[in-house]
């Protein structure tokens, strides 16, 4: 039998199986911690940093990504404090300026309260969340896709940039990519890029029902900051 632990997330006592991540436990309970690179049932690498929470240990708060933090008995997690919101705001700002031409990124920024960015738009096609890399199983479990280079030269590529024979064309990488849904021309008019937030994507439906989580799953887990507890 799997061992159960009890932890406290934003004041709610939650029971979760040992070995699950704090993020999963929170999402199962209905606390939407915004996240981007996390995809359920796939190992997490914590690359987007959006899912940060405060973990209170001996009265001191540590900021960590909840997707890579495993649940433990008597944990104290705060996912929606001023500090977290401020930090998350900045992370979302950085992410959206990296790739404002994705609707998912525009929506995430909006949900984290970013209305304008202090950074210049880079219009990249990839934000290195690594969803595709981790979801890819390839033929015989050998991946045809991975991270190449490091630092600012890091990118997702197949070996030598050739399409590999190992790709079995399942299309999972494309399904999970937050970049596949381009933002409409409005905010992305060349030379006049801006953050808009008026997209009619599925995400925006929740704006009509204030404070109520409609359980949308746009992009399978690019979540909003709205949770029943914030009301």
């Amino acid at each position: 039998m799997t061992q159960q632990v009890t932890l406290n997330i934003d004041g709610a006592l939650i029971r979760a199986a040992k070995g699950t991540s704090v993020l999963d436990a929170a999402l199962d309970f209905g606390i939407c911690i915004p996240h981007l690179c996390h995809v359920s049932n796939i190992e997490d690498i914590g690359s987007c940093r959006l899912c940060i929470v405060e973990n209170i240990v001996n009265g001191r708060s540590k900021i960590t990504t909840s997707c890579t933090l495993l649940v433990q008995d008597d944990m104290m997690i705060l996912s929606n404090t001023d500090k977290i919101r401020r930090l998350r705001h900045n992370i979302a700002e950085l992410l959206v300026s990296e790739a404002p031409n994705s609707r998912a990124m525009q929506d995430i920024a909006l949900r984290c309260g970013v209305e304008e960015t202090r950074y210049s738009f880079r219009n990249n096609d990839c934000i290195l969340c690594g969803r595709c890399v981790r979801a890819c199983t390839g033929e015989f479990g050998v991946k045809p896709l991975g991270f190449v280079g490091r630092g600012k030269d890091r990118r997702v590529e197949a070996p030598f940039n050739l399409r590999s024979k190992l790709c079995n064309e399942c299309g999972r990488c494309i399904d999970l990519c937050p970049m596949v849904m381009p933002a409409c021309d409005g905010p992305m008019e060349t030379g006049k890029e801006r953050l808009c937030g008026n997209c009619e994507s599925k995400l925006s439906d929740t704006d009509l029902t204030l404070g109520y989580c409609v359980g949308c799953y746009f992009g399978e887990g690019i979540q909003c900051q709205r949770s029943p507890i914030n009301v």
């Binding site: 991975g146 190449v148 280079g149 030598f160």
Partner: protein
């Protein structure tokens, strides 16, 4: 010749994925760079997916994926060296050899590279030339260094 060489490097390391970095280091040292074919062979022999070999090889600055010149000049552009004028040295090298960092001269004699800190900050700015360190460099010293390497090469050639 390269193949026998590769064989001896891989000898007794076959099917041991954890040997990847050591094997790549030896290849780098003996061939001067890691070619796509060698990566494919390494991947097969060690049982590591080609993707992982490529990721590792492209991650570390000390592995080069392109053939390098006979003389490799590595200019440190780490914090300490930057502050003490690494930029000027890079410019000097660029102008003198007419190649950008990371590239090799057309005659295959020189490759310029830059790294972030070689761990000798007290001696900044540092330039390493084929593995030997030169401290407190400035553009004048670098010019002389390159000149001497050039003349050494022509001497060797005329002796042949």
């Amino acid at each position: 010749m390269q193949n026998t060489n590769l064989d001896s490097i891989l000898e007794s390391r076959r099917s041991q994925p954890h040997q990847l970095i050591e094997v790549l280091q030896d290849i780098q040292e003996q061939h001067g760079y890691i070619s796509e074919e060698t990566m494919a062979t390494v991947s097969e022999e060690l049982g590591v997916p080609l993707m992982d070999v490529y990721s590792v090889a492209s991650f570390y600055k000390s592995f080069s994926l392109k053939p390098r010149g006979k003389n490799v000049i590595t200019i440190c552009t780490g914090t300490a060296c930057h502050v003490r004028g690494a930029k000027l040295i890079v410019n000097q090298a660029n102008a003198q050899l007419d190649v950008a960092p990371g590239e090799t001269t057309d005659d295959g004699q020189f490759t310029i590279e830059h790294v972030n800190c070689v761990g000798a900050c007290a001696l900044a700015p540092v330039v390493t030339e084929n593995g030997s360190y030169h401290h407190h460099m400035d553009s004048g010293k670098l010019r002389k260094l390159i000149k001497s390497l050039e003349s050494k090469d022509t001497e060797e050639n005329s002796n042949d």
